[in-house]
């Protein structure tokens, strides 16, 4: 374990910046924490709960895949993939780090998504242990320890110092370059205990997944509560787009007159034109679409992924849903542990 003072952070960022772009949560003009590129003078926000998740760095909202041109019967295809630059993201919460376990299981299994893999290879995640969780936090429900996040490097913050520990080779290589002072973990343990105490007091601390998981499809699919829960849902994509684990995308084409750009962009299962097939849409009503989102996270995903749930309890959808419908309300109603 290594230690540095909070004041020396800028020096550290400057050091990392020599070889890679650094991103970290910075307050924007509305006072909301947003991942921003570090430059001299850019200050780390005290807030870890960013508006959008880290997902964007590895799986951007819009991404060009290829270009092609058709003339007569000839198709000229242009591979526009480029090697990603090295980058480091600092200040990632435990829940957001966990989201990559979920995304990796989708994108990195064969056939591997080379666009995503490329960015994963070049990205280093430096997590920071939570000290001030929000009332909307429920990572605990999914077995995440907010006080000991994963990531290539884990950082703990106390009043005046930061404690660094590398978890991966990539992390270790980076940490070695920083030449920090070595130290023991007593301060970190003290901080962990303090945070753990707070975690117990969170309003959603008792939320459990006991009635969800693989194999629950038959039991939950036809529950009448889906209808009442979905009744207020607007069918917008806010929850999907702020979610760190939602990974659905649509592939579209843009014809600029001189050629076609094939790109992908995020899609939402809440949208009426989601996964349109030859026969049209396979989920015609909002109830079906609403159910899909939650069944996927809480039943289908764990069923296919050794019981791992598709939600990390980051709480963004709780904060952002225009009509305050969210996964917690669904779990409590459908799971019956209200």
């Amino acid at each position: 374990m290594f230690k540095c003072s909070i004041d020396s952070l800028d020096k550290i960022f400057a050091e990392i910046s020599k070889n890679a772009t650094v991103y970290l949560p910075v307050d924007n003009d509305d006072g909301k924490a947003v991942y921003t590129k570090w430059e001299n003078g850019v200050k780390w926000s005290n807030e870890l709960n960013t508006v959008k998740s880290l997902k964007d760095f590895f799986f951007p909202q819009v991404e060009n895949l290829m270009e092609f041109k058709v003339e007569g019967k000839n198709i000229e295809i242009k591979d526009i993939r480029t090697e990603s630059e090295d980058f480091v993201v600092f200040g990632v919460r435990a829940c957001d780090v966990r989201s990559f376990d979920i995304l990796d299981r989708v994108f990195l299994v064969e056939p591997c998504d080379s666009y995503y893999a490329n960015r994963r290879e070049h990205g280093v995640i430096i997590s920071v242990a939570c000290t001030r969780p929000s009332e909307t936090c429920f990572c605990n429900t999914f077995g995440i320890d907010a006080t000991s996040p994963n990531g290539d490097i884990t950082v703990w913050k106390t009043e005046d110092a930061l404690y660094w520990n590398a978890n991966t080779e990539k992390g270790k290589a980076l940490l070695d370059k920083l030449n920090l002072d070595e130290c023991d973990d007593s301060a970190v343990n003290e901080q962990k205990a303090k945070t753990a105490e707070i975690m117990k007091r969170l309003p959603l601390a008792s939320l459990t997944t006991e009635n969800f998981g693989g194999g629950k499809t038959d039991e939950l699919f036809n529950r009448p509560e889906w209808k009442t829960l979905s009744e207020s849902c607007l069918g917008c994509g806010t929850c999907t787009f702020v979610c760190p684990t939602c990974q659905c995308y649509d592939i579209k084409e843009f014809n600029n007159g001189n050629g076609v750009i094939r790109f992908r962009c995020w899609d939402s299962c809440m949208y009426s034109d989601f996964t349109k097939m030859a026969h049209g849409n396979n989920r015609l009503s909002q109830v079906e679409r609403f159910r899909q989102r939650f069944m996927h996270k809480l039943v289908y995903y764990p069923e296919n992924n050794e019981g791992i749930f598709g939600c990390v309890g980051c709480g963004r959808c709780l904060a952002k849903c225009p009509i305050s419908m969210n996964i917690v309300k669904v779990m409590k109603t459908i799971g019956g542990n209200d």
Binding site: Q61, R132, R201, T238, D250, Y271, P322, I323
Partner: protein, 328 residues
């Protein structure tokens, strides 16, 4: 704090359900915390007793829900409408979007709704309870307690409330309010006075935050299209995400244009935007221009009124003359 107590509304809703006057009630349902209130359809009186709320967080406008809900309803639906909601209600009626016969509308006065984001700016995260009394009392899991004046945390749209008057109802609870003199165009004017470069920078910055979640569109009581042009691949403007700054602008310009003259300035778009883009400033610009060019017009003021864009006079201002006297 709202003048009308929750109990009066609950009592009214239950009695109407019991008498069979209505078959369902559109109201606000209690959430996980004290502020995350969800619009809901109640059909059960115990459910109403336990879960119906009416407090400073009941911002949701039910008018748009009536489009879908009246289609399926067997009998009448009881809906509670705040003054600003009634304008949307009338506008939807003007556009024949729901059957007035299927609705029993109760107007309730509103003292303005508060913005949880503004509260959190004061209290920080970790709210454990909020009590909407004379003062808004907030307790946090960190043991802090705050007494906040509601006027300091009113949502933007309520600070510039245009009207406390109900323009539509079957029954009114509480007193009849009045149309207010508001300063709602001040921000628009401020923008107009900037240089084009500044305006461009402002909107470029704001609109680039857009994640195209469509929350603004989907909450908007004027956006009730059976199929939105942005979801229709044949429309030529369909897109799911803004691929670049053009598409960010395209979506918001076209959306604002489509609701121009029909937008009642309810402010829901800005309220729900997860990125806090001041979308109402687009709609208000149209309202301000319409007022300035064609005379004052409030969408939804009365049912059947002719919206400015489906109307004209032979003396209307020429597009070439709109900037006269404004040189930036």
């Amino acid at each position: 704090m709202q003048k009308i107590s929750r109990d009066i509304l609950v009592e009214k809703a239950i009695s109407m359900l019991e008498n069979g006057d209505v078959c369902s009630v559109l109201g606000w349902r209690k959430g996980e915390f004290d502020y995350d209130i969800t619009p809901a359809v109640f059909t059960d009186k115990d459910d109403i007793k336990n879960n119906f709320v009416w407090n400073d967080f009941c911002g949701a406008n039910f008018s748009k829900y009536l489009v879908q809900k009246t289609r399926k309803a067997e009998g009448k639906i009881l809906v509670f409408l705040k003054p600003c909601d009634t304008y949307s209600f009338n506008q939807l009626l003007t556009e024949h979007r729901f059957d007035r016969e299927k609705v029993y509308a109760i107007g309730i006065p509103c003292e303005g709704m508060v913005d949880i984001n503004k509260i959190k700016e004061i209290t920080g995260d970790g709210i454990s309870s909020i009590d909407c009394g004379d003062k808004i009392t907030v307790n946090t899991i960190y043991g802090d307690k705050f007494d906040i004046d509601a006027t300091n945390v009113l949502s933007e749209r309520c600070i510039n409330c245009k009207s406390k008057k109900h323009v539509a109802y079957d029954e009114l609870i509480g007193d009849e309010g009045e149309v207010l003199e508001s300063n709602r165009f001040d921000e628009v004017t401020k923008l107009e006075q900037m240089t084009p470069d500044e305006r461009f920078a402002f909107w470029q910055n704001e609109l680039s935050k857009c994640i195209r979640c469509n929350a603004c569109r989907d909450i908007c009581p004027a956006c009730t299209c059976e199929k939105c042009v942005f979801d229709n691949p044949k429309s030529g403007v369909e897109n799911k995400a803004a691929a670049n700054s053009f598409e960010e602008k395209m979506f918001h310009i076209i959306r604002a244009f489509h609701v121009a003259g029909r937008c009642t300035d309810c402010g829901e778009c800005s309220r729900v935007c997860p990125q806090h883009i001041p979308l109402h400033l687009l709609n208000r610009k149209f309202i301000k221009d319409i007022d300035g060019f064609y005379g004052e017009y409030q969408a939804g003021d009365e049912v059947g009124s002719r919206a400015p864009l489906v109307n004209y006079t032979t003396e209307d201002i020429e597009a070439a003359d709109i900037f006269e006297g404004r040189d930036n």
